[in-house]
Symmetry: D2
Subunit: 462 residues, 4 copies
């Protein structure tokens, strides 16, 4: 690549800063409506100009001691009001399945979610924060009218928050058939006993409902019909939030990742979702798009880390070997690789998003799994490079980097560890083996035939 190649590109890039819409990879641009492009630009502006500055306030307003879990930072309510006013609300609900949302496709929301992922507050501000998003999808898709009225409506309004209780300590939680929390029908109630953990969001005082996966029919021959999903109001007698789990040293207050004990918790049978024994069906519908949302936000986090790395490298107070950091080839290579890795990962996510739009989450299993595995690994790498470039400032509270790293590190584990997904992807890919073996066999036969036809002896036999 020659110098003048790049003088060209320099000229190209030295114009005025590109908008978020300008930055959509060209391969995906055709599938984005003009309305989505305008909204995307608005999201960018809201995140960069309002949410990121508010992140500092949010962080500083988190309580001390027990108050970490009984209060929440007031600044978030200002941001939510502002987002609603801007029309940036419930962006995540895909238009082809839900009428309640803002009317965007998964691809279009994906592009927006990338920007949301740059800020700690932006997702919640726009009512697009996990786990509420997945929970709202579950309620919208599978809830009955009463359930929707009681829980979905206030969730869509951003008035309450929710948690999804599936994972349990002491079992391999990546496989839902391992679940042990029991749900016994007794009259008009179910009695729940068991323990859940990594119940994210259950630390928040605004969390009013738990969507709980349990075993209602543990002896059913079909191991995928043993589970049910039931709605449990926070504060129901017998429910104890035992402790909050930390992620590296972060407790993620007020959100929190809770361990919750159920001791003879009585829940109205009418709170069952979709029907007894249909828990598996629900869980499946829930996981797909959620994985994409996490991936999308992680792309944004990686972009922010790259921005911080670039800022560091151009901090003229920092010199080593007598040169500013921006002239060190190793750091320039980190920047280049980060750019390339982010761009490749983004295409993988956007391709999955379009696949969901064109079929649905089940039809996009391969594409979703690819995004689920690839993106967090990429983002961790990019963020870790930025940490290293910052040195002491990178690992502490003076940059957003260490916290972003820790948050994204959990994504390699949540909803199944990378290794389980890779095994399954390997098995699926390997299903092609019969076709492949047959094809190679036929090719070899044809080659032998052709050799004969051309009167040639195959080479490399002595």
């Amino acid at each position: 690549m020659s110098k003048s190649d790049f003088s060209q590109s320099l000229l190209a890039s030295s114009g005025k800063p590109q908008t978020a819409a300008d930055q959509i990879p060209i391969i995906a641009r055709f599938a984005v409506s003009d309305r989505a492009k305008e909204t995307l630009n608005l999201v960018e502006k809201f995140v960069e100009e309002e949410c990121i500055p508010a992140d500092t306030v949010f962080h500083s307003q988190i309580g001390e001691g027990q108050k970490r879990w009984t209060t929440y930072p007031p600044v978030i309510d200002h941001l939510k009001a502002r987002a609603r006013k801007l029309g940036l609300w419930n962006l995540f609900l895909p238009k082809n399945h839900f009428k309640e949302g803002a009317g965007f496709s998964n691809l279009e929301y994906g592009l927006m979610a990338e920007w949301l992922g740059k800020s700690r507050t932006a997702s919640e501000a726009t009512n697009c924060a996990a786990p509420d998003t997945g929970n709202m999808e579950v309620l919208a898709k599978y809830g009955n009218d009463a359930q929707k009225k009681e829980w979905l409506a206030p969730l869509l309004e951003g008035k309450i928050r929710s948690a999804f209780l599936m994972t349990e300590p002491d079992v391999a939680s990546s496989d839902a058939t391992n679940i042990t929390l029991t749900m016994k029908r007794q009259g008009n109630e179910y009695i729940l006993n068991g323990t859940k953990w990594w119940s994210s969001g259950a630390g928040d005082p605004r969390c009013k409902v738990y969507i709980v996966m349990g075993k209602s029919d543990p002896s059913n021959n079909d191991s995928y019909k043993q589970q049910s999903v039931i709605l449990v109001a926070a504060g129901t007698p017998g429910v104890t939030v035992q402790r909050v789990l930390s992620v590296y040293g972060y407790d993620d207050a007020p959100h929190g990742h809770a361990q919750i004990k159920f001791e003879n918790v009585r829940v109205p049978a009418s709170n069952i979702v979709l029907g007894e024994g249909r828990g598996f069906e629900i869980i499946q519908g829930r996981l797909g798009p959620g994985r994409i949302h996490h991936a999308m936000r992680s792309i944004g986090a990686a972009e922010r880390a790259l921005e911080w790395m670039i800022a560091r490298v151009n901090d003229t107070r920092k010199k080593t070997f007598g040169k500013p950091l921006s002239e060190h080839g190793v750091l320039l290579e980190w920047i280049a690789k980060s750019r390339l890795e982010i761009d490749a990962a983004r295409l993988i996510v956007l391709n999955a998003a379009i696949k969901i739009d064109e079929s649905n989450a089940k039809g996009a299993l391969k594409e979703i799994a690819e995004a689920k595995v690839m993106v967090p690994q990429m983002a961790l790498m990019v963020i870790d490079r930025a940490v290293q470039a910052y040195g002491g400032a990178g690992v502490c509270q003076d940059t957003p980097l260490a916290n972003m790293w820790a948050q994204i590190r959990t994504l390699r584990i949540a909803d199944g560890p990378d290794e389980v997904h890779l095994q399954q992807m390997g098995k699926n890919e390997n299903k092609r083996h019969r076709d492949i073996v047959e094809k190679l066999k036929v090719q070899k036969e044809k080659a032998d035939h052709l050799l004969n036809e051309h009167g040639v002896q195959q080479k490399s036999k002595l």
Copy 2:
């Protein structure tokens, strides 16, 4: 990821084998015409059913000793006749720039080139082989009528072949300004002196023309105006093919990578392309799409390696630790990672192809550089895994793997080593630094203002 998730996906994938068109990533599918899809399926069929079987014949027909360079495998002529009959000819010339080709976009040809890359003979059979493709583009774009008639016409007909002579031993060839071959005007002729190497294709007896980059005006103040490109007929007095360079033991006969000496070689001045001092301009136009072609073919090579790996893993004669290889988790993970890495790399290439289609090679510099760097590294990794899975058969002539690896290894070097591209990509990305530093500064000021407004003290000061 649960079992039943994948039973679904199993059902989905157990239907009849997908065509090449079915396999286009959904994100790119919208931009592919129906005619291109039909042609793509035809390419797949031609490659899998005719070219790959013919590869064995091709390999076996290569001569021994000096005959490696004075003859060529006759089977290629059968394949070329067949390809023309099928309409698979000059697929590479993009429709928006050239009328002489088959009328496809870079994206569409990219999808086809992937299949061509699975076979040693397919690219040449369809008249889409490097370096002729790039050379034809140069002649079509920059050649005058006489030059076109003499060289472009027979190249488009597949009657002759060509070489591109730019790289020189003993200088850093990634920068064209370092070129030392001299071109001195003397009357109606240029006198050429110097040495070129890595002149790929110059070993072939059918190679009739060299496109030579030299310095016609070495003292020009503008270091990008010192170079010119001139057409030299093979066999011109003073031209000596000194030796053929091997690539990891392969001499790549009859193609060959030649070292060629020019001693007082007299070339008609009318053979200059575009005009004296315009060599740099030509070189730039040539490199972009060529990089994409290599990348596209490498994707195909990686796909073929993955097919061979899957075949190996399902070879029931191979067992370790009492289990067939297909039940070994490490190998399944290799398959999964290979699938994922190929898919990500393909999206990077297709995105670059669309970018070229929508603007041109100059407008797609970033995207082309990303493909140039990412794809060969990915393909080498995938192929090396397959080699390792095959053991002894992987490194020797019993599989196509070792040879594919060696070919693709050169792509990390050709047209500039990865590291030069990464440095340049890093510098370009770093051009954002002023905007970023300013943005972070403004965000900090806003945060301070907000803290004040909310009456909060920033946390983490004691």
Copy 3:
């Protein structure tokens, strides 16, 4: 490798558990005295049976809120008493330089430090914790009698703790010449102004002395004579601990990594160490062995992570794909690679330790730098694998893994980032270039001569 190979090894390893001394790599065993072997076994026993169980108590006794920094866990005093009784005290002071220590070589202490690194409390319990160790070395080596009496004696007794204040925010701290804290002589005092951060241990209420590096002669032409080291009593007027820095969310209380402001702090001139302008000399002597200590402890941390990984993999409650984790090839490969990587890193550290023993830290610069760069990267990889194997339990407080990872992550930054060391190692290695270029030239000439002598033409010219 055949089955019966390993039946053999099975028999070998199924005997009674090896002691710590048995586990010394054979290559280093010859250099370890019998007394050191006995002490090593005692250290193992003390760490595994007393310190690791006490870690939980230590963690639970750390205060809440402001008390995190005004109290310290009482259990540590029990452990210290116990260690002294066992003779496990001041093990780190190398016998060939200091009479105050336990009389071991760097190699011998290195083997012990590995075990200390498995526990949060063991280093402090044996009075071998950073930064006191390096500070005691400085005082013992460079302090005058009064300084020794006032500070070294209580440090050696474990009665007080200390901090080393070198790094500053906003400059590239890897180069000591960048230091900005000023020390101005005024009568019998120095006036200190400036800010230090990453002053580890300064959070502890027992920390009574700061060893401070400042610029006493900023205009000295020799940039290595501008610095001095002075002892500052904690609580000296003008000294403010501004805040504590977190490491991936951990505040590391009561130890703490402090940011400390010096405003017109008056320090007796007699507190200067070694003499004005000799700060650089002191810093150099201090860093070498300290890097080795960190590396040694990190080896122990990696071993502990591997133990936890093995425990997890054999937890029969955890199954995926119907198999216990211990039958999953990917996890077995992680275990194998971890074993290999730990073993290689340990040899690098032990080789550096012997090199220091045989010469001194200056003579072992290459070996120390190798350990400094290699070990933390290795340990982070091993720990991260263990985190991944544990899933949710790995990232939270239920295992020691996440905290160990965060602690060790700082070692890639502290005392100069990896990249600075690698650049310097590269430059040093590159100093061989003249000899190498000359050797290759001579070899080529001899080859040409030999070709001639044997009447052979060099091959691969056509």
Copy 4:
């Protein structure tokens, strides 16, 4: 790391070049006799001054066409004569097991083998080339007097060469129980039928004996008693060398990796080694030290690649971005990492060598496996960096790099692929699981007890 640190080291390294003995890692130096050190320096001199220059002659003397396999380069006989004269002969036979050798330990030979590995001819010149070394060990250890007289004596004299025939196509050759070549006793003869491949050295016209592993008792219940080893004279009727396998594109003439067919080959029963059914025993004894030899030579190859890389980087004709390559940080980092990785790998090999010296190959299984897996991967990485630094010259015949890479690539496969060794190492390491699980359980109980004793509640429960 500060500048003046390294000025020191600069002074140290700018003295006169170190001898080979000076370069022995200090950790291993104590175990090397003075005689070995002197011999080591002699080996260095012989390799650098005589063998490496002779490599070019050797390469150029290899025949063309069929003559590649019927002649061998005469220069090798000059080198052999020279080596014998210098006393550099049969260095490999370890003194504690064999009286026939030069009387060095495995460690001492290991250090020498590193230098031998830098040259193509040095191992053969000193009669230390594979597979003869392992074959001589087998004959010396297990052969009877007649066998020794007929085959060992001329091998020790360097008069004939030999091959070891174990691996077979179409089975997983890493497990010797899979072997299918049949050996049927008939009177005083065994009748052999089957096919072997990767019979390295069988291409050489001087190869006079094959050591063949076959199944003499396929129905034996003990699957490790089914195999026997028998000596077959080259040229025995029924033996056909079918073809030579290439390694990447290299045929490795005249050595060659042969595929050999046995059709009713009659071999005297007296040629059986050690006794019928004892093949497994023999194979085991053979593999251990051989793996170490390969590893040792690979260290030398990596050192040579690093030397070439340094030479390249200091080639002042090569500039990119206006700077000589030696000022590019990325390349300096490659050099530094290579230095570090080579040094770590060397310690792993030397530790294994000492372990063999102190016990034997069986007692050093873990250490040998570590070297077997680690060293080739390291060497491939280092060589590949050098290839990349050279660009076109790196992949072709103008440097020794591509060929070295291809040779070492086979070591990741030969004698069992890395993955099989890693699985076995993982399983072995995992045998500690009972002890570990018990230890962690006891530690937890003690912690609970201590918490109680100290009256503390465990933290991080709400």
